[in-house]
Amino acid sequence: MEDTEKTEEIQVIAPTDKVTDENWEPKIIAFLCNWCSYAGADLAGVSRIQYPPNVRVVRVPCSGRINPLFILKSLQVGWDSVLVSGCHPGDCHYISGNYYARRKFSVLDDLFEFMGIDKGRVNFSWVSAAEGAAFANIIEKVTEKTRKLGPNRLFKEL
């Protein structure tokens, strides 16, 4: 079933330089910690779990490495949304990096909420090295959410 579909299905992706509303595809930047979430993405790969092709991954050692400025800057330069993912609480390879990360993320989250900025563009999650399907599922969710929000003009057409 799967192999025949491969050749039958043709998908056209919008040229990346000119974005119009009709052919727009969300582009999402994902910061993944090396030890859990990146490994979870690898497992999704090895298990051939299909998910939307809209995410570009940036590998960092730990979710604790992620400065909120990375997230804000990503939105400013035009990424349609940002996904940040680390180890589940307790699983951090560096003992506590994800706990500090969680505090920073909640600040950012509340700030967005308070300023009335759509929070859908900033997504935080925990994905373990054993959660390939969960990773794919979260990518699907975030992509769908971003698609509904439309192109990121948050900091563009102010």
Binding site: A39, A44, V46, P53, G64, A130
Partner: protein, 1002 residues
């Protein structure tokens, strides 16, 4: 006789891996043989681990990868031992490597063979619950990631050979015999799960909804057959009522499994909790006899399971299960504690199966010539718990007795310590340090980037337009060269990469292929051979993140690949060579505490020739063990103690400081300086001790009871007092009725933990009494009898000798009353209701608690944490049980948590091995990826110090700026992102590099 600086480890489970890593890091060549085709053992099958609910694979896989790529470790998979010759220090082995039919040198682990294989077979890793192919890999994260053919299933169609672009399939591969020469052998063959099928009463194998606990573990796993949903096999529905039956194949004399399997109580609680977490509809009930939550923080877990997750515990042993054929539900009939008969219907039943010796235990013992014990576990001595009966052969993990992961890891290191002690003269003799060409100085050079894009057979090339990615890459900034390869990781491509770097003068290299988590070290190695610093390398993961997951949208997958390559180029333009800092390593050791743990550890170091300072605050060595006469197994503790003290006193490398305490400790791993403080009546002439390692063996204290008229009535004593009476013939023969009360000062609000040893103490003393005076009456009042592991035997012995056991509930403790001169105890037992017991002697089983004051003082001095109960808290509960997060500091014995003498010795030995990974080196090489601080920007606010889990950052009080100790930094970057002034950066993942990658939005 010449000693061989190599060690063979049998078994690639967590214990075997830990031994191998310890020894490989301590300068020995290590061979690991593994029966199956991948290392990881049972831990790789687990979903979560108790009591922290850590994700098993998350914490295990870095160790697997490390073992897989360690230059001193050679993995021999699918291998069996045929023959052993020689003796301790110089063994010769004959090993059979069974054919895999796929050349593991050539196999890239791409998995196309498995996909194309027409045979649907079963998946052993997933406990037969889903299908797999005849050409298979054990599990997706397996190390080594090589496929093999299950010859029994294979029909020999030849398709896999046709589709394998790496030409790795070799149908005529033969079994191969190899010979190796090692100095020591470590047995870590693990355990087999008890097979409940022959016990027909539980209907396992007959009723679909009766599963074993290991199957349930796979059900819970996100990568398991049900994707982590709790479903029942008969119809895929969520089972509301799930019954867990404990002690299946444990504590069961009828089925020749009389011992306790040690881990089932906890893993069952964990499985119940996780099931509830995964599916809120599930309501677990656990049927158990005793709840044996004896380990560190275990009881808290059980309490949480009951209070927070609403897990129901019923004290009963189920005798049989029937199926309701209408709905495949299961009917459980049982007798409740008060004797009434109850019948309940459950949607699913999980059998908590026990741990059996491995099926090849007898074979192993014959080949190697070591003895097994009565249950076919490996026989060990109480005081040398990791040595087999044969010299030079050591044992660890569940093969010595059923045990959990941290205890296995402890014993793994302990057995490695024995190998260290045996072979230290041959250390570094068989490990070869690879010589690389001198590094090319690329400073000031403009980046010249070379890109290698991998087809991975058809794994990438079949979905991503690789040539177009190459063309695209050629036009990116500073890209000098780009090409595509069928397999970029193959041996011939490595040669090609080296040549290309030279030919085109490349100074940055990017490989666009698979995941850097497994392949980055390989390519870094390659570019080092071309004279480039290994950090001048980047990877774009276009397989795991593009071709494999966007198979149906090839154009999008190609676009994404281009983006990932562009982002990698962007980062590569800024990457700089990184140097690993070299720190001096002082080879002296400071051991704090002169009890059995401290003594054992100190001797382990001294016997390897390391100068060891042993600091004891009292006037004599021996610690708590001075009060213990015998172990429950009947071993003479005093004799052992005096032997070990004599050995310590005689050893030239061991310097003992009695009546001394630590005044100050400064420095870090390899470079500590300590000042001692002696008690008033002793002169201090020691000055400053310089050492590279610290061992905390500060012990525990006995709880001083205030309850039950203790110290008010002479007829109320502690177990230690009672033991003294019995063993020193001071027992008053007029005493006829003895009552013991367990859990005094343990498992209560103040000390919520179990003190672990008191049940065995009570039973040991009861048996001793019965042996001396069979007519005396002993009643033990208990909450749970926790004679875990092989100690269960003595619980049975006590009962057979007439010792009575009566259970009480925590909220209805026995009450002692003085009626005139007589002592009467009122008990309200769930078994028999209220009874009054007259007694002549009341023995209190008092618990162990940490020395609160001294621990509170010591912890900040060492910059190491305490847990809620004020015991020292190790770096990782499961996999780093004797390490602290701060490098170079270790913990063992009661300082860690309550434990018995053999367990303390094991931990002390483990510390020796862990510390030897440092001590074996003249200098320690720190990580290249570390944080650095720009002091011109640092305002000294100290936020980074707070966020550092490794105490790598300190404040320069003079300049009021921080300093980062590159030897302690692990490179997580938590400090970097918290610095408001952007004064810290993380080499290898700098702000600028990430900024540029972010800016690659197009």
């Amino acid at each position: 006789m010449e000693k061989i600086g190599a060690v063979l480890v049998i078994g690639g489970g967590i214990a075997g891996i830990q031994s191998a890593l310890d020894l490989a890091e301590s300068g020995y060549k290590v061979y690991v043989t593994e029966k199956t085709t991948g290392i990881g053992g049972v831990m790789a099958q687990l979903d979560k681990t108790f009591p922290t609910n850590d994700c098993s694979m998350c914490i295990l896989s870095p160790k697997l990868v490390e073992a897989g790529r360690h230059p001193n470790i050679e993995l021999l998979i699918n291998a069996n031992i045929l023959k052993l010759d020689g003796e301790a220090g110089n063994f010769k082995l004959n090993i059979l490597r069974k054919a895999l039919f796929i050349n593991s040198e050539k196999c890239t682990g791409c998995g196309i063979c498995g996909q194309e294989c027409p045979v649907e077979s079963i998946d052993i890793y997933n406990e037969h619950m889903v299908i797999n192919s005849a050409a298979f890999v054990k599990y997706p994260q397996s190390v080594p990631l090589v496929f093999s053919i299950n010859k029994d299933m294979c029909i020999g169609c030849g398709i896999c050979q046709a589709v394998c672009k790496a030409h790795a399939v070799e149908y005529f591969q033969q079994d191969e015999e190899i010979n190796i020469n090692v100095g020591a052998i470590i047995l870590a063959p693990g355990f087999d799960e008890f097979d409940p099928a022959p016990l027909q009463v539980y209907g396992y194998g007959k009723y679909p909804n009766v599963v074993s606990s290991i199957e349930f573990e796979r059900i819970l796993s996100a990568s398991g057959p049900y994707s982590g949903m709790v479903l029942r096999p008969s119809d895929g529905d969520i089972p509301e009522k799930v019954a867990f039956l404990q002690c299946i194949g444990s504590r069961d004399v009828h089925h020749a499994k009389p011992y306790c399997s040690s881990v089932c109580c906890m893993y069952t609680a964990k499985e119940a909790v996780i099931a509830k977490e995964h599916q809120h509809q599930v309501n677990p009930t656990i049927f158990s006899m005793d709840i044996r939550a004896y380990g560190k923080d275990f009881d808290k877990y059980i309490i949480r399971a009951q209070d927070e997750y609403g897990i129901r515990y019923i004290r009963s042993r189920i005798s049989s299960i029937e199926e309701n054929p209408r709905n495949n539900n299961l009917i459980l009939n049982y007798e409740s504690e008060d004797g009434s008969l109850i019948s309940e219907e459950y949607n699913m039943v999980v059998l908590s199966v026990g741990l059996n010796p491995p099926d090849d235990a007898i074979k192993l013992s014959k080949i190697f010539g070591f003895e097994l014990n009565e249950y076919n576990f490996c026989k060990t001595d109480h005081f040398t718990p990791s040595k087999t009966s044969k010299s030079g052969i050591f044992v660890c993990g569940a093969f010595a007795a059923p045990k959990d992961i941290p205890e296995s890891v402890i014993q793994a290191s302990a057995s490695a310590a024995h190998a260290n002690i045996l072979l230290h003269s041959a250390r570094n003799s068989l490990v070869t340090k690879k010589v690389y060409p001198p590094e090319i100085n690329v400073e000031g050079q403009a980046p010249r980037i070379g890109i290698f894009v991998c087809h991975c057979g058809t794994n990438i090339g079949g979905y991503v337009d690789v040539p177009s990615v190459v063309e695209y890459a050629k036009n990116l900034e500073n890209v000098e060269y780009a090409e595509d390869n069928l397999y970029t990781c193959s041996a011939d491509t490595q040669i090609k990469i080296v040549e290309t770097i030279k030919e085109h003068n490349l100074n940055r290299v990017i490989v666009a292929s698979c995941t850097p988590r497994t392949h980055e070290p390989l390519f870094q190695e390659t570019i080092r051979e071309a004279g480039l610093n290994p950090y001048l390398f980047e990877m774009a993961n276009i397989r795991d993140q593009c071709s494999w997951v966007h198979m149906h949208v090839p154009i999008a997958a190609t676009d994404k690949s281009k983006d990932l390559v562009r982002m990698a180029v962007s980062k590569a333009n800024k990457i700089e060579p990184l140097q690993r800092t070299i720190l001096d390593m002082n080879h002296n050791v400071l051991v704090i505490g002169g009890g059995i743990s401290g003594l054992s550890a100190a001797l382990g170091f001294a016997e390897q020739g390391f100068m060891t300072y042993l600091v004891e605050k009292t006037t004599e060595l021996g610690g708590h063990a001075k009060n213990i006469h015998a172990s429950i197994e009947g071993n003479n503790v005093q004799e052992f103690l005096s032997n070990i003290i004599e050995k310590a006193n005689k050893n030239e490398n061991l310097k003992i400081f009695l009546e001394s305490e630590i005044d100050t400790i400064e420095g870090f791993v390899g470079n500590f300086e300590t000042k001692l403080k002696s008690s008033e009546n002793k002169e201090n002439d020691e000055g400053t001790l310089e050492h590279g390692i610290i061992v905390v063996a500060t012990g525990g204290e006995q709880y001083q009871p205030t309850e039950y008229l203790y110290s008010k009535d002479p007829r109320v004593v502690t177990q230690i007092d009672f033991e003294k009476m019995l063993f020193e013939s001071k027992f008053d023969e007029k005493v006829n009725k003895i009552v013991m009360i367990q859990c005094i000062g343990s498992r209560n609000e103040k000390n919520p933990y179990c003190s672990r040893v008191c049940c065995a103490e009570a039973i040991k003393n009861s048996i001793k009494l019965k042996d001396l005076y069979p007519e005396k009456e002993v009643i033990v009042l208990f909450r749970d009898i926790r004679t875990y592991g092989l100690k269960e035997k003595y619980y049975r012995e006590a009962r057979s000798k007439g010792v009575m056991f009566l259970r009480f509930e925590e909220d209805l403790p026995p009450e002692l009353e003085k009626e005139g001169e007589n002592l009467v105890i009122h008990v309200d037992s769930p078994n028999i209701g209220k009874v009054d017991l007259e007694l002549d002697l009341l023995v209190l089983s008092v618990g162990i608690h940490p020395p609160y004051e001294s621990n509170e003082k010591m912890a900040p001095m060492l910059k190491v944490p305490l847990n809620d109960d004020k015991f020292f808290l190790e770096a990782h509960v499961k996999l780093r049980p004797v390490d602290f997060a701060t490098a170079g500091i270790f913990v063992c014995g009661l300082a860690h948590s309550p434990r018995s003498i053999d367990e303390s010795i094991m931990q002390a030995n483990a510390v020796v091995s862990r510390a030897s990974t440092y001590l074996s080196k003249d200098e320690i090489e720190a990580e290249g990826i570390i944080a650095t601080v720009d002091i011109s920007k640092c305002s000294g606010c100290g936020l980074c110090i707070e966020t550092c889990a490794y105490n790598a950052i300190t404040m320069d009080e003079e300049k009021m700026v921080v300093e980062i100790n590159s030897g302690l930094c692990k490179g997580c970057g938590a400090c970097v992102s918290s610095c408001r002034g952007l004064a810290i950066d993380l080499l290898g993942y700098t702000d600028e590099e990430i900024y540029l990658v972010i800016n690659e939005f197009k």
